[in-house]
């Protein structure tokens, strides 16, 4: 994990041994080696097909 002050970067390892990078605001109290649960809204997900083209856009709208 990296504390950047305004935000904290967490490197999480899942059961499938995939590393995820997670950014949380402020200072996180999670420590190295802790287990945490993680949630994600479906709107935030993007899906690319095998050719790399986007098939599902994230539904988080830009503020404009």
């Amino acid at each position: 994990m990296e504390h950047l002050g305004a935000e904290t970067l967490l490197m999480l390892k899942t059961e499938g041994d995939i590393t995820l990078m997670v950014k949380v605001d402020g200072v996180s109290h999670v420590r190295s080696g802790d287990s945490v649960s993680l949630g994600v809204r479906p709107e935030a997900c993007q899906l690319f097909n095998a050719a790399g083209k986007t098939v599902v856009f994230s539904a988080i709208a830009s503020p404009e």
Partner: protein, 313 residues
């Protein structure tokens, strides 16, 4: 209204095609950033617009005039180079006025434009110095001043901040944006730094391997990337991607397995995904919610994954 228009521009170096047919239109007064990894052709594209390289194919129109065969001096563009390209044997004032003096511009006009540029860029105290006695940021401003006095229809910047340290880079970013606001000119800016692209551009052009991956506003590109390359190129830290296989498609909703056993349901816009397709799921690092306990039932629209272990480091 389109001010600068690139039509199917291509460039070959020997037998290698480095620019593979670029179509792009730029509005008057827009701040456009070309961004991409090194070797993607962004600098070459800028040099084609400047007329420092000859196009192999295509057409360039600036302000309604076909510039394809016009030499760089008459395209009405001004360029700021990565190395600043200041003439080491001339003072700051001479550097800024060199082009005008060589083209025999009226002395009163030269003096007036020099005065205006120097005021705008806070260069008055340094006008008599040689470039060797200036800091990096000051040299950068002289290079910009040299562009301003030409009163160009298009400003071209080739990675102008890459030789500056982080603090100065931020300062110059703000200064260039202010300049853009006060001059209202069209500017094309090349960088490999996605932070510069995100913070400065009205319109980002993401280039990769000599073609355009996507064109759009910074937030559009960030939130709605057209493909995986753009999604991965923009954003720091990088977007999380993982390969997975579609478990089921039911009434326009795809069910995708997540690492750890959970699933996520995504409504599909189109029907070109079916069960068993290999896909890549991508989630930005800041779009996660970290909780130390089990989720509450009320937040059912959140897909919860099983417990993850923070990587020891």
């Amino acid at each position: 209204m389109t001010y600068v228009s690139l039509e199917n521009i291509a460039k070959d170096f020997g037998t290698t095609r480095v620019i593979k047919g670029i179509d792009l239109s730029i509005e008057q007064g827009e701040f456009v950033v070309f961004v991409g990894p090194s070797g993607c052709g962004k600098s070459t594209l800028l040099r084609l617009i400047a007329g420092l390289e000859q196009m192999s194919e295509g057409r360039l129109v600036i302000d309604g005039r076909d510039m394809t065969a016009v030499d760089s001096a008459n395209r009405g563009v001004a360029m700021v180079f990565q190395s600043y390209a200041l003439y080491p044997h001339m003072t700051v004032a001479d550097n800024i006025t060199f082009g005008m003096r060589m083209n025999r511009v009226d002395k009163a006009i030269i003096a007036e434009r020099l005065e205006r540029a120097a005021t705008m860029l806070h260069l008055q105290p340094y006008l008599d110095r040689k470039p060797a006695h200036l800091s990096g940021g000051q040299r950068q401003r002289v290079a910009i001043g040299r562009a301003i006095v030409r009163d160009p229809s298009v400003f071209l910047f080739d990675e102008p901040l890459s030789n500056l340290d982080a603090a100065l880079r931020h300062e110059m970013r703000v200064e260039i944006l202010k300049l853009h606001k006060s001059l209202g000119s069209t500017m094309i800016y090349v960088t490999h730094d996605q932070v510069e692209a995100m913070t400065m551009a009205d319109k980002i052009v993401v280039l990769n391997g000599g073609h355009i991956e996507q064109v759009g506003s910074p937030l559009d590109l960030y939130l709605k990337p057209a493909n995986r390359f753009v999604a991965e190129f923009l954003g720091s830290p990088k977007i999380n991607c993982f390969e997975t296989v579609v478990q089921a498609v039911d009434k326009g909703v795809a069910i995708l397995p997540l690492p750890g056993g959970a699933t996520v349901s995504l409504p599909l816009d189109s029907a070109d995904i079916s069960k068993g397709d290999a896909v890549t799921l991508a989630i930005r690092p800041e779009h996660f919610v970290v909780g130390e306990t089990e989720p509450q039932k009320s937040k059912r629209r959140w897909s919860w994954w099983s417990t993850l272990v923070l990587k020891p480091c």
